[in-house]
Protein backbone atom coordinates (compact mmCIF):
# COMPACT_ATOMS: atom_id res chain seq x y z
CA UNK A 1 0.00 0.00 0.00
CA UNK A 2 2.53 2.53 1.21
CA UNK A 3 4.47 3.05 -2.01
CA UNK A 4 1.56 2.72 -4.43
CA UNK A 5 -0.47 5.45 -6.05
CA UNK A 6 -3.65 6.01 -4.07
CA UNK A 7 -6.66 4.56 -5.87
CA UNK A 8 -9.41 7.01 -6.62
CA UNK A 9 -12.90 5.57 -6.59
CA UNK A 10 -15.90 7.83 -7.21
CA UNK A 11 -13.85 10.89 -6.37
CA UNK A 12 -12.90 9.45 -3.02
CA UNK A 13 -9.43 8.33 -2.21
CA UNK A 14 -7.83 6.45 0.59
CA UNK A 15 -5.82 8.77 2.77
CA UNK A 16 -4.62 6.17 5.17
CA UNK A 17 -5.40 2.82 6.73
CA UNK A 18 -5.90 2.78 10.49
CA UNK A 19 -5.38 -0.55 12.23
CA UNK A 20 -8.12 -1.79 14.54
CA UNK A 21 -11.78 -2.65 14.32
CA UNK A 22 -14.37 -0.41 12.66
CA UNK A 23 -16.71 1.53 14.92
CA UNK A 24 -19.39 -0.73 16.41
CA UNK A 25 -22.13 0.47 14.10
CA UNK A 26 -20.11 -0.32 10.96
CA UNK A 27 -19.13 -3.80 12.03
CA UNK A 28 -20.80 -6.65 10.17
CA UNK A 29 -21.77 -9.28 12.71
CA UNK A 30 -21.69 -12.64 10.93
CA UNK A 31 -24.75 -14.79 11.37
CA UNK A 32 -24.75 -18.56 11.65
CA UNK A 33 -26.23 -18.92 8.18
CA UNK A 34 -23.75 -16.54 6.54
CA UNK A 35 -21.15 -18.20 4.36
CA UNK A 36 -17.41 -18.19 4.95
CA UNK A 37 -14.51 -19.34 2.79
CA UNK A 38 -13.57 -22.97 3.33
CA UNK A 39 -9.92 -21.97 3.18
CA UNK A 40 -8.89 -21.13 5.82
CA UNK A 41 -11.91 -21.41 8.13
CA UNK A 42 -12.99 -25.01 7.63
CA UNK A 43 -9.64 -26.40 6.56
CA UNK A 44 -7.74 -25.34 9.67
CA UNK A 45 -10.39 -27.01 11.79
CA UNK A 46 -10.17 -30.18 9.73
CA UNK A 47 -6.39 -30.11 10.07
CA UNK A 48 -6.63 -29.80 13.85
CA UNK A 49 -9.19 -32.63 13.99
CA UNK A 50 -6.93 -34.81 11.84
CA UNK A 51 -3.89 -34.15 14.02
CA UNK A 52 -5.93 -34.89 17.13
CA UNK A 53 -7.06 -38.27 15.75
CA UNK A 54 -3.50 -39.15 14.78
CA UNK A 55 -2.30 -38.18 18.26
CA UNK A 56 -4.89 -40.44 19.90
CA UNK A 57 -3.94 -43.38 17.65
CA UNK A 58 -0.27 -42.76 18.35
CA UNK A 59 -0.73 -42.70 22.11
CA UNK A 60 -2.85 -45.87 22.14
CA UNK A 61 -0.35 -47.66 19.86
CA UNK A 62 2.57 -46.60 22.04
CA UNK A 63 1.04 -47.82 25.29
CA UNK A 64 -1.09 -50.83 24.34
CA UNK A 65 0.11 -53.80 22.33
CA UNK A 66 -2.21 -55.52 19.88
CA UNK A 67 -3.22 -58.96 21.18
CA UNK A 68 -1.66 -62.15 19.79
CA UNK A 69 -2.83 -65.46 21.25
CA UNK A 70 -1.40 -68.93 20.63
CA UNK A 71 -1.21 -70.11 17.03
CA UNK A 72 -4.55 -71.17 15.49
CA UNK A 73 -5.50 -74.70 16.47
CA UNK A 74 -8.54 -76.19 14.67
CA UNK A 75 -8.79 -79.01 17.21
CA UNK A 76 -8.93 -76.78 20.29
CA UNK A 77 -12.14 -74.74 20.38
CA UNK A 78 -11.96 -71.96 22.97
CA UNK A 79 -14.92 -71.50 25.28
CA UNK A 80 -16.54 -69.00 24.83
CA UNK A 81 -16.06 -68.62 21.11
CA UNK A 82 -16.32 -64.90 20.46
CA UNK A 83 -16.95 -62.99 17.24
CA UNK A 84 -15.25 -59.58 16.87
CA UNK A 85 -16.93 -56.95 19.09
CA UNK A 86 -18.75 -55.22 16.21
CA UNK A 87 -20.61 -58.50 15.60
CA UNK A 88 -21.20 -59.16 19.30
CA UNK A 89 -24.80 -57.93 19.08
CA UNK A 90 -25.52 -60.39 16.29
CA UNK A 91 -23.87 -63.19 18.25
CA UNK A 92 -25.98 -62.30 21.27
CA UNK A 93 -29.12 -62.46 19.11
CA UNK A 94 -27.92 -65.82 17.80
CA UNK A 95 -28.16 -67.17 21.35
CA UNK A 96 -31.87 -66.34 21.48
CA UNK A 97 -33.22 -66.74 17.96
CA UNK A 98 -32.99 -69.11 15.05
CA UNK A 99 -29.84 -68.37 12.99
CA UNK A 100 -31.98 -67.47 10.00
CA UNK A 101 -33.45 -64.61 12.05
CA UNK A 102 -30.35 -63.53 13.97
CA UNK A 103 -27.78 -64.13 11.28
CA UNK A 104 -29.60 -63.20 8.09
CA UNK A 105 -32.91 -61.40 8.57
CA UNK A 106 -31.88 -58.96 11.31
CA UNK A 107 -28.66 -57.75 9.65
CA UNK A 108 -30.48 -57.64 6.31
CA UNK A 109 -33.29 -55.57 7.80
CA UNK A 110 -30.83 -53.19 9.47
CA UNK A 111 -28.90 -52.52 6.26
CA UNK A 112 -32.11 -52.31 4.23
CA UNK A 113 -33.70 -49.98 6.77
CA UNK A 114 -30.66 -47.69 6.81
CA UNK A 115 -30.60 -47.52 3.02
CA UNK A 116 -34.33 -46.75 2.91
CA UNK A 117 -34.28 -44.21 5.75
CA UNK A 118 -33.98 -41.01 3.66
CA UNK A 119 -36.81 -42.21 1.43
CA UNK A 120 -39.09 -43.19 4.32
CA UNK A 121 -38.57 -40.05 6.39
CA UNK A 122 -39.89 -37.35 4.06
CA UNK A 123 -40.35 -34.76 6.80
CA UNK A 124 -38.31 -31.84 5.46
CA UNK A 125 -37.73 -30.18 8.84
CA UNK A 126 -34.30 -30.12 10.41
CA UNK A 127 -35.58 -28.95 13.77
CA UNK A 128 -35.23 -31.54 16.54
CA UNK A 129 -38.67 -30.62 17.91
CA UNK A 130 -40.27 -31.37 14.57
CA UNK A 131 -38.54 -34.74 14.11
CA UNK A 132 -39.56 -36.46 17.31
CA UNK A 133 -40.72 -39.73 15.73
CA UNK A 134 -37.60 -40.13 13.63
CA UNK A 135 -35.32 -39.32 16.55
CA UNK A 136 -37.05 -41.63 19.00
CA UNK A 137 -37.12 -44.54 16.53
CA UNK A 138 -33.45 -44.20 15.66
CA UNK A 139 -32.46 -43.79 19.30
CA UNK A 140 -34.39 -46.89 20.39
CA UNK A 141 -32.68 -49.04 17.76
CA UNK A 142 -29.28 -47.55 18.48
CA UNK A 143 -29.50 -48.03 22.25
CA UNK A 144 -30.76 -51.59 21.82
CA UNK A 145 -27.86 -52.33 19.50
CA UNK A 146 -25.31 -50.82 21.88
CA UNK A 147 -26.73 -52.82 24.81
CA UNK A 148 -26.69 -56.08 22.83
CA UNK A 149 -23.11 -55.35 21.78
CA UNK A 150 -22.05 -54.70 25.37
CA UNK A 151 -23.75 -57.87 26.63
CA UNK A 152 -22.25 -60.04 23.90
CA UNK A 153 -18.83 -58.45 24.29
CA UNK A 154 -18.37 -58.23 28.04
CA UNK A 155 -21.14 -60.12 29.83
CA UNK A 156 -20.87 -63.54 28.24
CA UNK A 157 -18.57 -66.33 29.38
CA UNK A 158 -18.19 -70.10 28.86
CA UNK A 159 -21.15 -71.67 27.01
CA UNK A 160 -22.44 -68.14 26.49
CA UNK A 161 -23.52 -67.98 30.13
CA UNK A 162 -23.97 -64.66 31.92
CA UNK A 163 -20.85 -63.38 33.70
CA UNK A 164 -20.10 -60.07 35.38
CA UNK A 165 -17.17 -58.48 33.56
CA UNK A 166 -15.53 -57.41 36.83
CA UNK A 167 -15.50 -61.02 38.00
CA UNK A 168 -14.53 -62.79 34.78
CA UNK A 169 -13.33 -60.97 31.70
CA UNK A 170 -14.00 -62.60 28.33
CA UNK A 171 -14.00 -59.62 25.98
CA UNK A 172 -11.50 -59.82 23.12
CA UNK A 173 -10.34 -57.00 20.85
Amino acid sequence: MANQEPRVIDNQRVLGVVPGKPAAGDRKELQEQDTVMVWPHLLVRHAVAALFVLLVVMLIALFFDAPLREIANPTNTPNPEKAPWYFAALQELLAHFHPLIAGVLVPGAIIGGLVALPYIDRNPSLLPQARRIARVTFTVFMVAWILLTLVGFAFRGPNWSWVWPWEEWHGEL
Binding site: D34, V36, I111, L114
Partner: protein, 258 residues
Protein backbone atom coordinates in the same frame (compact mmCIF):
# COMPACT_ATOMS: atom_id res chain seq x y z
CA UNK B 1 5.16 -11.54 7.86
CA UNK B 2 7.71 -9.84 5.66
CA UNK B 3 9.46 -13.13 4.99
CA UNK B 4 6.16 -14.85 4.33
CA UNK B 5 5.36 -12.21 1.74
CA UNK B 6 8.79 -12.68 0.16
CA UNK B 7 8.15 -16.41 -0.11
CA UNK B 8 4.70 -15.81 -1.54
CA UNK B 9 6.12 -13.56 -4.23
CA UNK B 10 8.90 -15.95 -5.19
CA UNK B 11 8.85 -17.61 -8.59
CA UNK B 12 8.85 -21.10 -7.05
CA UNK B 13 5.85 -20.44 -4.80
CA UNK B 14 3.85 -18.86 -7.54
CA UNK B 15 4.57 -21.74 -9.87
CA UNK B 16 2.85 -24.05 -7.34
CA UNK B 17 0.02 -21.86 -6.06
CA UNK B 18 -1.49 -19.55 -8.63
CA UNK B 19 -2.46 -16.64 -6.43
CA UNK B 20 -3.59 -13.35 -7.87
CA UNK B 21 -2.01 -10.13 -6.53
CA UNK B 22 -5.12 -8.69 -5.02
CA UNK B 23 -7.49 -11.24 -3.62
CA UNK B 24 -11.22 -10.72 -3.77
CA UNK B 25 -13.61 -13.54 -2.87
CA UNK B 26 -13.91 -14.26 -6.56
CA UNK B 27 -10.13 -14.59 -6.92
CA UNK B 28 -10.01 -16.81 -3.86
CA UNK B 29 -12.66 -19.04 -5.36
CA UNK B 30 -10.68 -19.19 -8.60
CA UNK B 31 -7.47 -20.20 -6.85
CA UNK B 32 -9.46 -22.72 -4.80
CA UNK B 33 -10.54 -24.46 -7.98
CA UNK B 34 -7.10 -24.35 -9.53
CA UNK B 35 -5.57 -26.27 -6.62
CA UNK B 36 -5.89 -30.02 -6.80
CA UNK B 37 -6.23 -30.60 -3.08
CA UNK B 38 -8.49 -27.65 -2.39
CA UNK B 39 -10.90 -28.42 -5.19
CA UNK B 40 -12.03 -31.51 -3.25
CA UNK B 41 -13.73 -29.06 -0.90
CA UNK B 42 -16.57 -26.65 -1.55
CA UNK B 43 -15.49 -23.01 -1.75
CA UNK B 44 -17.78 -21.76 0.96
CA UNK B 45 -19.73 -23.25 3.82
CA UNK B 46 -22.23 -21.77 6.21
CA UNK B 47 -20.65 -20.44 9.34
CA UNK B 48 -22.47 -22.88 11.62
CA UNK B 49 -20.70 -25.77 9.90
CA UNK B 50 -17.46 -24.61 11.50
CA UNK B 51 -18.67 -25.41 15.00
CA UNK B 52 -17.57 -28.65 16.62
CA UNK B 53 -21.15 -29.59 17.38
CA UNK B 54 -22.11 -29.57 13.71
CA UNK B 55 -20.30 -32.73 12.58
CA UNK B 56 -17.98 -33.40 15.55
CA UNK B 57 -15.50 -33.87 12.66
CA UNK B 58 -16.36 -37.55 12.68
CA UNK B 59 -16.32 -37.86 8.88
CA UNK B 60 -12.85 -36.36 8.86
CA UNK B 61 -11.84 -38.67 11.70
CA UNK B 62 -13.03 -41.71 9.70
CA UNK B 63 -11.08 -40.51 6.70
CA UNK B 64 -7.88 -39.95 8.69
CA UNK B 65 -8.19 -43.37 10.32
CA UNK B 66 -8.66 -44.98 6.92
CA UNK B 67 -5.56 -43.20 5.61
CA UNK B 68 -3.47 -44.31 8.60
CA UNK B 69 -4.69 -47.88 8.03
CA UNK B 70 -3.58 -47.80 4.41
CA UNK B 71 -0.12 -46.55 5.38
CA UNK B 72 0.44 -48.94 8.29
CA UNK B 73 -1.12 -51.80 6.29
CA UNK B 74 1.31 -51.37 3.41
CA UNK B 75 4.21 -51.54 5.84
CA UNK B 76 2.87 -54.77 7.34
CA UNK B 77 2.44 -56.30 3.86
CA UNK B 78 6.19 -56.26 3.33
CA UNK B 79 6.64 -58.81 6.10
CA UNK B 80 3.55 -60.99 5.89
CA UNK B 81 2.85 -64.11 3.82
CA UNK B 82 -0.76 -65.38 3.96
CA UNK B 83 -0.27 -69.06 4.62
CA UNK B 84 -1.04 -71.09 7.77
CA UNK B 85 2.60 -72.15 7.96
CA UNK B 86 4.02 -68.60 7.85
CA UNK B 87 1.34 -66.09 8.95
CA UNK B 88 1.62 -66.50 12.71
CA UNK B 89 5.42 -66.54 12.66
CA UNK B 90 5.47 -63.45 10.46
CA UNK B 91 3.41 -61.56 13.02
CA UNK B 92 5.80 -62.63 15.79
CA UNK B 93 8.75 -61.49 13.67
CA UNK B 94 7.07 -58.17 12.95
CA UNK B 95 6.67 -57.65 16.71
CA UNK B 96 10.18 -58.58 17.67
CA UNK B 97 12.59 -58.18 14.75
CA UNK B 98 11.22 -55.53 12.41
CA UNK B 99 11.96 -51.83 12.88
CA UNK B 100 8.85 -50.18 14.41
CA UNK B 101 7.03 -53.46 13.72
CA UNK B 102 5.20 -53.66 17.03
CA UNK B 103 4.26 -50.00 16.87
CA UNK B 104 2.96 -50.26 13.30
CA UNK B 105 0.99 -53.39 14.08
CA UNK B 106 -0.54 -51.67 17.13
CA UNK B 107 -1.43 -48.67 14.99
CA UNK B 108 -3.09 -50.88 12.40
CA UNK B 109 -5.06 -52.84 14.97
CA UNK B 110 -6.28 -49.93 17.10
CA UNK B 111 -6.98 -47.62 14.17
CA UNK B 112 -9.15 -50.39 12.69
CA UNK B 113 -11.25 -50.65 15.87
CA UNK B 114 -11.43 -46.87 16.12
CA UNK B 115 -12.51 -46.60 12.50
CA UNK B 116 -15.53 -48.84 13.11
CA UNK B 117 -16.44 -46.63 16.06
CA UNK B 118 -15.82 -43.39 14.17
CA UNK B 119 -17.86 -44.46 11.15
CA UNK B 120 -20.77 -45.57 13.34
CA UNK B 121 -20.62 -42.31 15.30
CA UNK B 122 -20.40 -40.32 12.05
CA UNK B 123 -23.55 -42.04 10.87
CA UNK B 124 -25.40 -41.27 14.11
CA UNK B 125 -24.27 -37.64 13.99
CA UNK B 126 -25.43 -37.29 10.39
CA UNK B 127 -28.76 -38.78 11.41
CA UNK B 128 -29.36 -36.46 14.37
CA UNK B 129 -28.45 -33.43 12.27
CA UNK B 130 -30.93 -34.57 9.63
CA UNK B 131 -28.17 -34.38 7.02
CA UNK B 132 -29.65 -37.28 5.06
CA UNK B 133 -32.54 -35.12 3.87
CA UNK B 134 -32.79 -33.76 0.33
CA UNK B 135 -30.53 -33.16 -1.50
CA UNK B 136 -28.31 -35.50 0.53
CA UNK B 137 -30.34 -38.72 0.46
CA UNK B 138 -28.08 -40.50 -1.96
CA UNK B 139 -24.94 -39.63 -0.03
CA UNK B 140 -26.47 -41.33 2.99
CA UNK B 141 -26.95 -44.48 0.90
CA UNK B 142 -23.34 -44.26 -0.26
CA UNK B 143 -22.46 -43.94 3.43
CA UNK B 144 -24.26 -47.17 4.29
CA UNK B 145 -22.17 -48.92 1.62
CA UNK B 146 -19.07 -47.48 3.30
CA UNK B 147 -20.25 -48.79 6.67
CA UNK B 148 -20.59 -52.30 5.25
CA UNK B 149 -17.18 -52.04 3.56
CA UNK B 150 -15.63 -50.87 6.84
CA UNK B 151 -17.04 -53.87 8.70
CA UNK B 152 -15.89 -56.27 5.99
CA UNK B 153 -12.40 -54.76 6.01
CA UNK B 154 -12.20 -55.19 9.77
CA UNK B 155 -13.54 -58.71 9.67
CA UNK B 156 -11.25 -59.95 6.87
CA UNK B 157 -8.26 -58.42 8.62
CA UNK B 158 -9.16 -60.17 11.86
CA UNK B 159 -8.19 -63.57 10.43
CA UNK B 160 -4.75 -62.63 9.19
CA UNK B 161 -2.69 -63.05 12.43
CA UNK B 162 -3.79 -66.71 12.40
CA UNK B 163 -3.95 -67.01 16.17
CA UNK B 164 -6.72 -68.63 18.23
CA UNK B 165 -8.60 -65.33 18.46
CA UNK B 166 -8.56 -64.90 14.67
CA UNK B 167 -9.37 -68.47 13.81
CA UNK B 168 -12.40 -68.89 16.05
CA UNK B 169 -13.83 -65.41 15.58
CA UNK B 170 -13.89 -66.04 11.84
CA UNK B 171 -15.31 -69.52 12.37
CA UNK B 172 -18.23 -68.02 14.35
CA UNK B 173 -18.67 -65.18 11.89
CA UNK B 174 -18.76 -67.30 8.77
CA UNK B 175 -21.00 -69.97 10.31
CA UNK B 176 -23.87 -67.48 9.95
CA UNK B 177 -23.35 -67.44 6.19
CA UNK B 178 -24.66 -71.01 5.91
CA UNK B 179 -28.12 -69.81 6.99
CA UNK B 180 -28.57 -67.54 3.99
CA UNK B 181 -31.74 -68.95 2.36
CA UNK B 182 -31.12 -71.19 -0.67
CA UNK B 183 -27.51 -70.11 -1.29
CA UNK B 184 -26.27 -70.75 2.27
CA UNK B 185 -23.81 -73.57 1.65
CA UNK B 186 -22.60 -71.96 -1.57
CA UNK B 187 -21.96 -68.65 0.20
CA UNK B 188 -20.04 -70.39 2.94
CA UNK B 189 -18.04 -72.39 0.39
CA UNK B 190 -17.13 -69.25 -1.51
CA UNK B 191 -16.01 -67.51 1.69
CA UNK B 192 -14.07 -70.39 3.21
CA UNK B 193 -12.90 -72.29 0.14
CA UNK B 194 -13.42 -75.52 2.08
CA UNK B 195 -15.48 -77.09 4.86
CA UNK B 196 -13.65 -75.24 7.65
CA UNK B 197 -11.41 -72.18 8.01
CA UNK B 198 -8.12 -73.20 6.38
CA UNK B 199 -5.37 -72.15 4.02
CA UNK B 200 -7.77 -71.22 1.18
CA UNK B 201 -9.78 -69.09 3.61
CA UNK B 202 -6.63 -67.26 4.63
CA UNK B 203 -5.70 -66.48 1.01
CA UNK B 204 -9.24 -65.37 0.20
CA UNK B 205 -9.50 -63.10 3.21
CA UNK B 206 -6.04 -61.71 2.47
CA UNK B 207 -6.86 -60.81 -1.13
CA UNK B 208 -10.15 -59.25 -0.04
CA UNK B 209 -8.41 -57.38 2.78
CA UNK B 210 -5.44 -55.91 0.91
CA UNK B 211 -6.83 -55.52 -2.62
CA UNK B 212 -10.54 -55.87 -3.30
CA UNK B 213 -12.02 -54.13 -0.27
CA UNK B 214 -9.55 -51.21 0.00
CA UNK B 215 -9.90 -50.43 -3.71
CA UNK B 216 -13.69 -50.64 -3.44
CA UNK B 217 -13.62 -48.42 -0.35
CA UNK B 218 -11.47 -45.78 -2.05
CA UNK B 219 -13.79 -45.81 -5.06
CA UNK B 220 -16.94 -45.43 -2.98
CA UNK B 221 -15.24 -42.83 -0.76
CA UNK B 222 -14.46 -40.77 -3.85
CA UNK B 223 -18.16 -40.70 -4.68
CA UNK B 224 -18.99 -39.87 -1.04
CA UNK B 225 -16.64 -36.89 -0.94
CA UNK B 226 -17.65 -35.71 -4.40
CA UNK B 227 -21.31 -35.79 -3.45
CA UNK B 228 -20.53 -34.08 -0.15
CA UNK B 229 -18.96 -31.16 -2.05
CA UNK B 230 -21.73 -30.98 -4.62
CA UNK B 231 -24.48 -31.10 -2.00
CA UNK B 232 -22.68 -28.55 0.17
CA UNK B 233 -22.46 -26.13 -2.75
CA UNK B 234 -26.12 -26.71 -3.59
CA UNK B 235 -27.21 -25.83 -0.08
CA UNK B 236 -25.02 -22.73 -0.04
CA UNK B 237 -26.48 -21.49 -3.33
CA UNK B 238 -30.01 -21.92 -2.07
CA UNK B 239 -31.47 -19.00 -0.08
CA UNK B 240 -31.53 -19.99 3.55
CA UNK B 241 -34.94 -20.63 5.04
CA UNK B 242 -35.05 -18.72 8.30
CA UNK B 243 -35.62 -20.68 11.48
CA UNK B 244 -39.34 -20.49 12.28
CA UNK B 245 -40.47 -18.38 15.20
CA UNK B 246 -41.95 -19.98 18.33
CA UNK B 247 -45.59 -19.96 17.20
CA UNK B 248 -44.72 -21.39 13.80
CA UNK B 249 -42.74 -24.08 15.55
CA UNK B 250 -45.84 -25.60 17.09
CA UNK B 251 -47.29 -25.97 13.63
CA UNK B 252 -44.14 -27.62 12.32
CA UNK B 253 -44.22 -30.13 15.18
CA UNK B 254 -47.81 -31.01 14.48
CA UNK B 255 -47.04 -31.61 10.81
CA UNK B 256 -43.81 -33.44 11.34
CA UNK B 257 -45.21 -35.92 13.82
CA UNK B 258 -48.39 -36.91 12.05
Amino acid sequence: MKYLDRIKRSAAYRSIFRLPDVATDRDRAASHWSSFLLHLYPVKVRRRELRFGYSAFLGVASLVLFASLVVSGIYLMFFYVPSPSTAYGNIQTIQTNIAFGQYIRNTHRWAAHLMVLAVAAHMAKVFYRGAYKPPKEFNWVVGVVLLVLTLLLSFTGYLLPWDQLAYWAVTVGTSMASYVPLAGETTKDILLGGPTVGSSTLVRFYVLHVAVLPVATVAVLTIHMWRWRKDAMLTVDEPEIAEPAEDELVLATAEGDE
